[in-house]
Amino acid sequence: MIYQDSKTLLAVRDLRATVNGIEILKGMNLTVRSGEVHAIMGPNGSGKSTFAKVLAGHPAYEVSAGEVQFDGSDLLGLAAEARARAGVFLGFQYPIEIPGVANSQFLRLAYNTVQVERGKDELDPLEFDDFVREKMKLLEMNPEFLARSVNEGFSGGEKKRNEILQMALLEPKLAILDETDSGLDIDALRIVAGGVNQLSGKDNAIVLVTHYQRLLNYIVPDYVHVMDAGRILKTGGKELALELEARGYDWVAAEAKEQAGARA
């Protein structure tokens, strides 16, 4: 939701990034204020997931130019774990399996790490168990997932619920959800979207990276951005997503080219 008195949470200016020497982001600009929900859409290979990973600090990506301010401070100088502790959350498109590490143990360590960062008390295993079970109800998750290894043998939908569970535990200021809707059946989509909506508030912001409009029926964005070839070509309201659903992406690129031509 757009609030009048909101502050700028994320400011991305002319961001360029490469992976293995190939430039993927070619001048990204984006401003996100607290309380807002943004959707970044675009064709395969447009750089959406790269953008999400670069913001989270994935070591395989190198930032070659530009700047990113998060909550008033430079973000790019921070290591990935420091960004997470500062309140940047990435919901993974493909959550990683960690055999042998119990989900409950992993979730508690992540939770306590962030609690310490915020000057709050850590929870012992018993307190945490009560706490996490409450959060799991939100996502209609079976408590048996606590005892299993992190994401190991989880179905696609279970992995995505586990991601949103982590978002619920960590209460990030900025949640970037990378294709959280992919691999979800309609019931799971409703549950996951419901969870995200409950977590969305005046003091945080959500950036949804998605291919499809159907997620946006459940999580209504304030802004829709169309990304292509490493930058944002067009920004509009939620109705833009419907137009994209009907017309595809090609016209956006053509329109952008035309505008560029007119300027020249």
Partner: protein, 478 residues
């Protein structure tokens, strides 16, 4: 490999210091004269000298094994000193009289033996360069008839037991290094649990190699009579040296009817530096004989040190219904090489064995599991379950599995499972994205990976092992 991962696996060895204690060291070289000197120094009976000389004669006809998946420069056995004993200032009557320098060494190692032994209820038979300095709790154990002392003492005080069992599980000519050990062993531990006695506490030995170029040849013999049980802990550290030190120990376990021996090792010897300079060569023969029916021998090892490890703690399951177990974590880093595993030899009916091996390779190390499961024609109804898992950290290390399975009885059931996994950038990024740093992430993954083995360790050892693995892989994360 990312920088943080590289830093993570490069923590220097914390126990690298040399104690300044006068040593009584024999001239370098090996001959019949050296063996006679060792035997004379230790005031040994004639039969033991004969055993040593017989072993030496066999050793002369043998060649070093070439089959392990390790490489190292040829060892010059004539450049090694085969006897080294700390010079006692006088005869020791109590712990108070132990060389303060020696005590400080144990302090640095985190083994304040008197306090720790009492607090933890652990009897520590401390080996310092081949000669036992002190044995604690001996009297208390003696009350229930348990003998726990150095093997030199046992030779004098319990010659019949030593003569009966020494070399009964690992014959003097068993293999190259066992023959060498049989010829020149200087000291080690002896443990005898009489019929029907459950040892009331874990028995523990801390080993430490101190004198440079003093090859160390320990000999351990543990006997559990009918219905007896014992849990034995072995922990090792060694100071930092630039020349390689040879270590060739022999451990023999004998379990009679319904007896139970649990042997746990945490090994952290100096592994050499990042470039593979220095470090211990660890060529060990460990073997247990389940001689009686329903007996059980369980090996649990956490191997983190040594430049080269060549070690196959084995069980010979002769008694019907006897059980052999092997739980192992072997971690290699930098240039370390490990070729380790087990042998389960099923001879008796309905014998069972379990093998759980976890290999972790980091740096440019090479970690091989080598295991033999042999079901003899006599072993009707025998069962084996083997699980061999490897974990790779980084891009430059190697892991291999060499399972040998020989089944000669159609009623036997043998299962083997293996897996390989990797701690990669993506896993560490996932942890980082949840606020968890690389050190903690690696520690959590490793502990999860090793859980099945750590569960087998006595409580205190499990804590120590967890810390040790963390220590071996931690570093300043950049």
């Amino acid at each position: 490999m990312s920088t943080s991962l590289q830093n993570l696996v490069n923590r220097p060895y914390a126990h690298g210091f040399v104690s300044d204690i006068e040593s009584d060291t024999a001239p370098k070289g090996l001959s019949e004269d050296t063996i006679r000197l060792i035997s004379a120094k230790k005031n040994e009976p004639e039969w033991l000298l004969e055993l040593r000389l017989k072993a030496y004669q066999q050793w002369l006809t043998m060649t070093e094994p070439q089959w392990p998946n390790v490489t190292y420069p040829k060892i010059d056995f004539q450049s090694i000193s085969y006897y080294s004993a700390p010079k006692p200032k006088k005869t020791l009557n109590s712990m108070d009289e132990v060389d303060p320098e020696l005590l400080r060494t144990f302090e640095k190692l985190g083994v304040p033996m008197n306090e720790r032994a009492k607090l933890a209820g652990v009897a520590v038979d401390v080996i310092f360069d081949s000669v036992s300095v002190a044995t604690t709790y001996k009297a208390k154990l003696a009350e229930v008839g348990i003998i726990f002392c150095s093997i030199s003492e046992a030779v004098h005080d319990h010659p019949d037991l030593v003569r009966k069992y020494l070399g009964s599980v690992v014959p003097v000519g068993d293999n190259y290094y066992a023959a060498l050990n049989s010829a020149v062993f200087t000291d080690g531990s002896f443990c005898f649990i009489p019929k029907g006695v459950k040892c009331p506490m874990d028995l523990s030995t801390y080993f430490r190699i101190n004198t440079e170029n003093s090859g160390q040849f320990e000999r351990t013999l543990i006997i559990a009579e009918e219905g007896a049980s014992v849990s034995y802990l072995e922990g090792c550290t060694a100071p930092k040296f630039d020349t390689n030190q040879l270590h060739a120990a022999v451990v023999e376990l004998v379990a009679l009817d319904n007896a139970d021996i649990k042997y746990s090792t945490v090994q952290n010897w100096y592994a050499g530096d990042e470039n593979g300079v220095g470090g211990i060569y660890n060529f060990v023969t460990k073997r247990g004989l389940c001689k009686g029916v329903n007996s059980r021998i369980s090996w649990t090892q956490v191997e983190t040190g040594s430049a080269i490890t060549w070690k196959y703690p084995s069980c010979i399951l002769r008694g019907d219904n006897s059980v052999g177990e092997f739980y192992s974590v072997a971690l290699t880093n930098h240039r370390q090489q490990a070729d380790t595993g087990t042998k389960m030899i099923h001879l008796g009916k309905n014998t069972r064995s379990t093998i759980v091996s976890k290999g972790i390779s980091a740096g440019r190390s090479n970690n091989s599991y080598r295991g033999l499961v042999r079901i003899a024609p006599t072993a009707a109804g025998a069962r084996n379950y083997s699980q061999c898992d490897s974990m790779l950290i980084g891009e430059q290390c190697g892991a291999n599995t060499f399972p040998y399975i020989q089944v000669n009885n159609p009623s036997a059931k043998v299962e083997h499972e293996a897996s390989t996994s990797k701690i990669g950038e993506d896993q560490l990024f996932y942890f980082a994205q949840r606020g968890i740093g690389a050190e903690e992430a690696v520690s959590m993954i490793i502990n999860g990976f090793c859980k099945d083995v750590f569960q087998q360790l006595p409580m205190e050892f499990a804590v120590e092992a967890t810390k040790l693995l963390g220590l071996k892989l931690e570093g300043s994360v950049g």
